[in-house]
């Protein structure tokens, strides 16, 4: 795991402490990341607001330096249903 993936993971966890966070650098280029975030706190929240909750702290931390992050957010229930 590169420093940046670790850093992204820590920032997300800092904002949503109870979350399960997986961050990947699929092209191994240190620029295009994928993150999957599963959290109970997403229950009842629209997908837009779930994404905002993750992106906002990252935006503050990277001030636009984070080139691309493909984000997937799930409630635990929804995550379980995708793993069927």
């Amino acid at each position: 795991m590169s420093d940046l993936t670790k850093q992204i993971e820590e920032i997300i966890l800092g904002a949503i402490p109870n979350a399960q966070v997986m961050v990947r650098d699929p092209m191994n280029d240190g620029a295009h990341f994928e993150a999957t975030v599963i959290s109970e706190s997403f229950v009842g929240m629209s997908l837009v607001n779930q994404h905002r909750q993750v992106m906002q702290p990252l935006k503050n931390a990277f001030a636009g330096d984070l080139h691309a992050l493909a984000l997937k957010t799930y409630t635990p229930e929804k995550w379980a249903s995708t793993q069927g």
Binding site: L47, V48, H51, R52, K59, L71, K72
Partner: protein, 104 residues
């Protein structure tokens, strides 16, 4: 009319409103095209605004929605999301009831 008023008017007067790069017949960005493709596939009537023709709109819509990227889809005056979220909601079947179309 300020840019905020223009955007508010767009989403108030069009049930399904897409802020995009290009026009539905000729999207200028793959992400905008994906959202257009979904709306067309679901046979939804929608209005669109081309942010490339209007720099003030391009920046204004990001601020209005507090969302950093384009396209942006509004339904019934409510911000749904950008390309990723729209595609995900289409695939999961959550988008169809919002647009009041049958599961396609």
């Amino acid at each position: 009319m300020t840019i905020t008023e223009r955007i508010q008017n767009d989403i108030d007067t069009n049930r399904v409103m897409l802020f995009m790069k290009g026009i539905p017949e000729a999207p200028m960005c793959g992400f905008s095209k994906s959202v257009v493709d979904i709306l067309k596939h679901l046979d939804v009537d929608f209005a669109s605004a081309n942010v490339l023709e209007h720099m003030e709109l391009r920046e204004g819509i990001k601020e209005f929605s507090d969302w950093p990227t384009i396209p942006q889809l509004y339904v019934d005056g409510k911000f749904i999301g950008g390309c990723d979220i729209t595609v995900e909601m289409f695939q999961s079947g959550e988008l169809q009831p919002l647009l009041q179309v049958k599961d396609a």
